[in-house]
């Protein structure tokens, strides 16, 4: 059985200008979104409290608001999680010292208003000091991951491939960022973990193609690089589609039935795996090619 015919020969490299421009456009959009809307930071990174409550009888946000009104919570938002009026997420700001005081008051207020019909499923309260620390660590983690990946590939392949892989992974991180902002997915620790996995996968996928380019360069010296790259992409295409396909299937399973706690995590990975696959083909290879061509033209000038 073959999903991708083995003698497939698509001209990926020839259309690179179109895809590079499209990707650049999407990335630019992501950057604009990041600077204007910004991430919908979860409490891990922004500080604050979320209280998740389940009600036996369907209730309205207004009724919940009424129940906690006397507490005058700062920046209170009430979100219907399951879209069936039974599971709600309350989010608000709390004081820095003893972050538990506010949510204790909320629990008590809800218990008073709804008696036994309300169940508190989950509470997360993070003070500003802790969230600041987590933000810093998260930033460092992504930076280090990107750096190490670039170094590793430079060490194993050539610097051109390293630069190509890093640009491809920055592209992927930006695409994921854009989707997270557009969908207003709360950016928290698990989403960051997913993002780092995307970084790993993006490079993983780029390496498979680069490895084939490396091998083919040794085999066929005379042909020009763009042909070698195009051939390598075509040769690995079947593997690329199948691996990404199986990974996407399990991720979609996770997204659909894994429950709402894991959903942002799964979404991040789904988007990341799609763009990671795309960027290995349309971004990493053209970057390698670009450096090759600019180097040869320099040599000609000299």
């Amino acid at each position: 059985m073959e999903l991708i015919p083995h003698n497939i020969n698509v001209d990926f490299v020839g259309k690179r200008l179109f895809f590079v421009l499209m990707s650049a456009g999407i990335n630019l959009l992501s950057i604009i979104l990041l600077l204007t809307w910004g991430f919908n930071y979860g409490v891990d990174f922004a500080g604050g409290t979320v209280v998740e409550a389940r009600f036996q009888q369907p209730t309205t946000p207004e009724a919940i608001d009424q129940a906690v009104k006397t507490l005058a919570l700062e920046d209170l938002s009430i979100q219907d999680l399951g879209r069936d009026n039974t599971t709600y997420l309350l989010r608000f700001k709390q004081g820095e010292q003893n972050v538990d005081i506010a949510n204790t008051a909320v629990r008590t207020a809800l218990a008073t208003a709804f008696k036994e019909t309300v169940e508190i499923l989950r509470v997360e309260a993070v003070g500003a000091k802790v969230s600041g620390r987590l933000r810093q660590q998260g930033f460092l983690a992504v930076t280090f991951a990107t750096l190490f990946m670039g170094l590793y590939i430079t060490f194993r392949f050539e610097w051109r491939f390293g630069v190509g892989a890093v640009i491809a992974l920055l592209h992927d991180v930006l695409v994921v960022t854009g989707v997270l902002i557009l969908t207003q997915t709360p950016f928290d620790l698990t989403v960051l973990a997913a993002m780092l996995t995307v970084v790993g996968f993006s490079v993983h996928d780029t390496i498979i193609v680069s490895d084939r380019v490396r091998e083919n360069l040794r085999k066929i010296r005379r042909t020009n690089l763009s042909e070698v790259i195009n051939r390598s992409i075509n040769e690995t295409l079947s593997r690329t589609i199948i691996t990404s396909g199986t990974a996407l299937m399990v991720l979609i399973a996770l997204y659909v039935i894994g429950g709402h706690v894991i959903r942002p995590f799964a979404l991040t990975m789904i988007v990341g795996f799609i763009t990671g696959t795309y960027s290995s083909i349309y971004i990493a290879a053209p970057v390698v090619l670009y450096f090759e061509q600019s180097l040869t033209s320099q040599r000609k000038v000299a």
Binding site: D100, L121, A145, G200, D205, T243, T246, L251, I262, F265
Partner: protein, 526 residues
């Protein structure tokens, strides 16, 4: 060749048996006695708080308060020693973080300086403000500040651990995190009320003091502290001020034990204190000297009760009555038994998961694990036939080894951890896909079966190794920077990569080599 196969098969067998042994504690609820006497592993995969439900609290110690306290103690201590050493005309005052000794003549200044250098070497002039004429200025040395810091952290850790242990929940974790934070993880919190009890238990400073209630002129310096009393009719708590002598007669460090006493017809539950020998003697003297006066029992600046001393009390027993219910009295007994915190602590992070959400997460996580896994297995079988079957066997062995590795490391399985395992299944087949695609390519070149297998594996290997190493790197970075559930994900991801390379490359190759050696492999089905 055949020998090599034997050794490799033995390695796989040993690892599989080893994995089975490591998995036994996780699968079997209680281990038989001979298991532990044979020194077989007893660690098991434990569920994280996000799956079993529970409270995760990060506490920050108020270091400023600890330093304040140390400065106050040093001021009192220095005054006392100067008095004892008969250094006349020297008074100690504390101005912010500086201890200033004001002297009336050069002789007194010399005497005070001698006392300071002999007995208070932890006070220094370095970085201290310039003293006025006839004055000595000292501040706490950096070394002393570090000592105070360490003492506050160690003592808080010890005290909170004692208190949490007595809360009566198995497998609670109390550990230091970073410089001055303490992490408390308590699984299986059932409801709001239990959670509140726990938080109160942890946060109570539990400084116990005994002071006399002031009586007119003779009492000297006084302070006013609030007391609590329940109004008999409405049952509301009322605050009533007490005027007390400033002098503290006795503190809680002399308490040896504190017990909860159930309520009787006459009064509600109360806490009985058992004092140590020194405390017993001191308490006897205090009560003997002050018959007829009122002795206030103060916990954390709140007056609990102020009974009349009717007679000298020997035997070292005192009781704290107040208007509390049985749960409050129980908490009070625990904090008094465990001792006071050296400095106040505040909760800077709280994460609690109720038992039902944890159950939901386990169910949903497992369901997606099974569904996603089945899909991959069926797909591989259909698409790559025999090579797919081998890959599937490798995936099953992979999951088995991964579980065993998690158990061997005593790792905690979190919801992101389950997601990490699901992802591992999805990615594990990548190595087999790479190899199978290679084999197909080589087959098309018309090579022999043996050559196809050999070059298929060899050519795919660099790509497999390089790509897995980078994912492993990102897992390591996640582990370094992540916390809690994220760490669980990183552990699953990293261990998963190791077991993947082993099962998907090493084990499947072994099967091919075995079949080739027996010459039973004449056609390849990929």
């Amino acid at each position: 060749m055949a020998k090599g196969i034997l050794y490799r098969a033995l390695l796989v067998l040993v690892l599989t048996v080893g994995a089975l042994i490591y998995l036994v504690p996780t699968i079997v609820g209680t281990l038989p006695e001979w298991w532990t006497t044979l020194l077989l592993p007893s660690r098991k995969i434990s569920l994280g708080l996000d799956l079993r439900g529970g409270a995760h609290l990060l506490l920050s110690i108020d270091m400023d308060a600890a330093i304040e306290k140390a400065l106050d103690q040093n001021t009192d201590e220095l005054s006392r020693v100067l008095r004892e050493e008969k250094v006349a005309g020297a008074t100690v005052v504390r101005v912010e973080k500086t201890l200033r000794v004001r002297t009336v003549n050069p002789e007194a200044k010399l005497g005070a300086e001698k006392v300071l250098s002999d007995q208070f070497s932890h006070l220094t002039t370095e970085k201290a403000p310039t003293p006025a004429e006839g004055e000595i200025a000292r501040i706490l040395s950096d070394k002393e500040l570090i000592r105070i810091h360490d003492y506050a952290v160690d003592q808080s850790l010890e005290t909170i651990r004692n208190r949490v242990d007595q809360f009566g929940v198995a497998e609670a974790v109390v550990q230091r995190q970073g410089g001055q934070d303490i992490l408390v993880q308590v699984p299986g919190i059932q409801d709001n009320k239990q959670l509140e009890e726990l938080k109160k238990l942890i946060k109570t400073l539990a400084v116990l003091e005994f002071r006399l209630v002031a009586e007119g002129e003779k009492s000297g310096e006084t302070i006013i502290l609030q007391g609590q009393e329940r109004e008999p009719l409405s049952g509301k708590m009322q605050r009533i001020p007490y005027t007390l002598e400033k002098k503290v007669l006795m503190t809680g460090d002399l308490v040896q034990d504190a017990r909860l006493r159930p309520s009787s017809d006459l009064e509600g539950p109360y806490v009985e204190l058992v004092l140590n020998d020194r405390g017993a003697r001191q308490f006897e003297k205090i009560t003997g000297d002050n018959v007829g006066r009122r002795l206030a029992i103060i916990l954390d600046k709140t007056v609990y009760s102020a009974p009349n001393i009717r007679e000298r009390i020997g035997g070292g027993r005192a009781s704290i009555t107040g208007n509390f219910d049985i749960a409050e009295a129980r908490s009070l007994a625990i904090v008094l038994r465990a001792g006071a915190l050296p400095a106040p602590v505040t909760i800077v992070e709280e994460r609690t998961v109720g038992p039902s959400l944890g159950q939901d997460s386990i169910r949903q996580g497992m369901l997606s694990f099974i569904l996603g896994g089945s899909f991959v297995i069926v797909f591989m079988l259909i698409y790559y036939k025999m090579a797919g079957l081998l890959a599937d066997a490798a995936v099953v062995l992979n999951m088995f080894l991964l579980m065993a590795a998690l158990a061997a490391f005593g790792a905690t399985l979190t919801l992101p951890g389950i997601a990490g395992m699901v992802l591992t299944i999805g990615m594990a087949v990548d190595a087999n896909v790479l190899i199978a695609e290679r084999m197909r390519e080589e087959l098309r070149l018309g090579k022999s079966v043996r050559a196809v297998v050999e070059s298929g594996y060899e050519r795919a290997l660099p790509a497999i190794l390089d790509s897995n190493i980078t994912t492993f790197l990102s897992g390591l970075i996640l582990f370094q920077f992540g916390s809690g559930p994220v760490k669980g994900f990183a552990v699953a991801l990293c261990l998963g990569i190791i077991t993947t390379v082993f099962t998907a490359v090493f084990c499947t190759r072994l099967v091919y080599d075995y079949l080739l050696a027996r010459r039973s492999l004449t056609t390849l089905s990929v």
